[in-house]
Symmetry: C2
Subunit: 371 residues, 2 copies
């Protein structure tokens, strides 16, 4: 295995840190045009005034149409993370347990904890969580909800199989807990065919969360929830009490971006940009870390793996020495089951969208030199 | 007193409800131009990407410059209400008391309660809260914080005198509680001279909250806090954990709106539009409700009064009969002191900015017919 010269300090660092879109994929000029058009219209004032609590009504209609639900089954907020926070405030009572995949999105785990939950991670396999482990956890305590990212999971890149999706919905309905499916990457599929949404299997216990952060721009902070009308009405009220209304001009621009046909074209651009990067990542891992298993995603932002030799607490420091910036793998692991206490230490998430093929190839080489 | 014919159902209703800007005062075209310019620049992508947690850095710099503080003493969020929510999460511990003026901003009272505080209102006089009542409340329990709107108060229209401002800061420093001054209306002064900000009297226990809702547009949802660096760093972290970053394009547009000179011109326009409306309101009240005392504001959005004959729980219904839509006065009163249990029932807030002079005159006539 070829290794880079780690002693050279002029090595330009490669960032395998957060899952950010490629800068060249951000449609700044088109969005500028959309803002201008929305605000130049006769009713431009309407996206500047108070109102639209629960989200800009035309955007709620657009999303409702896409999911085949009514407007009152959709709430739009300032990013999906804040909606997770508000849902947690509604659903988590003192002493409650929340289940997540293990590993899972670090900020979601923090959110559920901050709102008072004991967060327990269920081991994630290459086709979704281990169902036996999930059943065991439920038998010990039925959770307030389980949070899953069924498509191109963050951080693992795993897509949950049709069978395990059925099992998740079945268990949620049988034991009466909420199932939150977070699907921000779902549309970014570069190959293969999609599995059904959890809400396509059963709607009674499912909340579907998504956002435009990966599909248009993160800093628009436009995220949404689709779910049963009673719970969504509670959520709308809590959102109004907390923020009045979300920011409106940005939500109006998301609608305009669709109506002008920019959304569909932009999604194609994203796929054309990201698909080869994923291919380079997979090939580089197979070349430079040939004995390390990993789930091969067909879309999304992430590939991840466990380094074969546990590098201990100094992984991040050693990575920096070879010009590699990593996120601490342990942050993706919820309160770990006893036997897994150490598991996050050798876990590495590799976001590939914002790196050039050359950077991905070089980054994996550097990773192999310390793995 | 002349009364309108309340039996005519075709009476067009006059809304004395929420404090919204006049629609004709919303600078839609100028904002459209600013969005377009911000996003057309070479670095337009930077307001679409992740980053600027704690607020868009150039806006933090602009605000810091206005208040004579450093950037790290400013946090910008998605509207000041959400910042109040986050500050409450930081400062309120179980069993804590929060003091407000009585009456006060209804949504702030709800926020402090939702975050676990017992909210106690201190009677508001025409020059600020009753200081003896405040001292008595503090002697019973030192609050986590006191929330005040010292300029053109919502809902009362009262401006706190220089002497009472000194007393507030003195008490906060002596007893060690935070003083939150919310000043969204301060710049909208139509006559007279400003009193000092609380933070100009002493900075160690003061958080200053404001927003651009009344100065540019509510739906931009751009609000900010200025305060001591240690607390603001905690707030920035909690905001990042809760929302990642606030919406950025709107914050960049607030900066652009200033840099193009639009902010100053817009503020002049607002004053020229609103000042005569306030004068009509004051004159109409003196004409049609000559024996009802009220604080005469020199700016802001609101005049308020207590109707001389307590109309009981049916005030809102009776108002509707004469074509007048009011907000329930009781919502502006925190958990009331015993002797004041009934006080909110006859309280009426009269927002004047979004009504024409003719509507204001007619609305006060209708109010007088049921008062």
């Amino acid at each position: 295995m070829q290794s880079v010269d780690a002693t050279k300090t002029e090595v330009s660092p490669i960032l395998f840190t957060r899952g950010v879109p490629a800068v060249e994929a951000l449609p700044a000029k088109l969005l500028g045009e959309c803002f201008y058009n929305v605000l130049s219209r006769e009713d431009g004032w309407s996206v500047l005034q108070y109102g639209h609590n629960g989200g800009y009504e035309p955007l709620r209609q657009l999303i409702a149409g896409q999911y085949g639900v009514n407007d009152n089954e959709v709430v739009v907020g300032n990013g999906s993370l804040h909606l997770q926070d508000l849902i947690s405030a509604l659903l988590i009572r003192p002493g409650d347990v929340v289940l997540t995949e293990q590993p899972s999105y670090d900020r979601a785990i923090k959110t559920f904890r901050r709102r008072g939950a004991k967060v327990i991670g269920i081991p994630l396999e290459h086709d979704g969580v281990n169902i036996a482990a999930l059943e065991k956890a439920i038998s010990q305590k039925v959770p307030a909800f389980m949070y899953v990212i069924p498509d191109f999971q963050n951080p693992a890149g795993v897509t949950t199989s049709a069978e395990k999706r059925q099992a998740l919905v079945h268990l949620a309905e049988k034991y009466g807990f909420w199932l939150i499916e977070d699907v921000p990457y779902r549309t970014l599929r570069y190959s293969g065919k999609p599995e059904p949404l959890l809400r396509e299997i059963g709607t009674s216990r499912v909340l579907t969360i998504s956002s435009y952060s990966k599909l248009i721009s993160p800093a628009l902070r436009v995220g949404y929830v689709v779910g049963p009308v009673d719970l969504l009405e509670e959520l709308r009220k809590l959102a109004e009490d907390t923020i009045l209304s979300p920011v409106l001009p940005t939500q109006a621009v998301v609608v305009e971006f669709h109506q002008r046909g920019y959304f569909a074209a932009n999604l194609e651009n994203l796929k054309q940009l990201y698909a080869p990067r994923l291919q380079v990542m997979i090939k580089a891992l197979k070349t430079h870390l040939p004995n390390v298993p990993f789930a091969e995603p067909e879309g999304g932002f992430f590939v991840s793996l466990n380094l074969p030799t546990s590098p201990g607490p100094n992984l991040l420091a050693r990575a920096r020495q070879v010009g590699l910036v990593l996120t601490d793998g342990r942050s993706f692991f919820a309160d770990p089951l006893d036997e897994e206490t150490e598991v996050g230490k050798s876990f590495v998430r590799l976001p590939f969208c914002a790196l050039t093929p050359a950077q991905i190839e070089e980054g994996v080489k550097r990773l192999a030199s310390i793995g």
